[in-house]
Symmetry: C2
Subunit: 134 residues, 2 copies
């Protein structure tokens, strides 16, 4: 399995575990000390925090959400570090009171590190695509 296939599989697992709302498996994609910044600019440090915050939000606003990738671009930074940039769409979002919210698009960047024979997320950051002020 080539490095790109393995790295891409991290992106695919990100989507699969999100859509299964299995935040235990989702969290296992991250290194123990990983950083993650979500679309609201909330900065989480460490796999347990990333797991707990995603469990919380997948119990409410993201409970029925489904994520898909329009594009996944991998760039090898060094032999053991790569970036994966995913352009995503998210549907099925609701308020905590169950009212539907508009679909969203955004860009997710994952910095993955080779460990043993796999790749783990060391740094992740997510940004909604919105119109610039004008």
């Amino acid at each position: 399995m080539s490095a790109n296939t393995s790295i891409q599989s991290v992106g695919m697992r990100f989507i699969q575990t999100w859509n299964a709302h299995d935040m235990d498996e989702f969290a296992l994609l991250f290194r123990e000390d990983a950083d993650f910044v979500n679309v609201y600019g909330s900065a989480y440090v460490g796999r347990p925090r990333i797991r707990d915050e995603h469990i919380s939000i997948h119990a409410t606003v993201f409970r029925d959400s489904q994520l898909s990738a329009n594009e996944m671009r991998i760039k090898q930074l060094t032999d053991t570090v790569a970036s994966l940039q995913m352009h995503w769409a998210l549907v099925g979002i609701k308020t905590p009171h169950g009212q539907p919210l508009p679909d969203r698009k955004g860009v997710l960047t994952l910095i993955v590190i080779k460990t043993g024979d796999g790749w783990e997320i060391a740094v992740g950051q997510n940004t909604d695509i919105v119109a610039p002020p004008g």
Copy 2:
């Protein structure tokens, strides 16, 4: 000069060149093939594109803007790759027609790579801090 000092200086130069609106110097912080995702989820590839887009926006909405960092956290990922997470505030933003816009806060992540005796930005992503839906 320790690695952390050098990496932190990339973050400091990011702020200094932004506040001087010197986008040529700003762009030189990035590797030739760098990726940058701005707060609007616009994904730019390559130093020339990053430079041109920032020249454009610093001629209008960010012309009088001033950036500052509340916090700058560095994490070494490997010997030659590190992440720098900056919690920032931006004031002096205006519409293209010169009307003042609210101050903003956000989180910027820079993935820097050691090249020769310096560090360059390979990947950058920026996210506004906003309230989650509720």
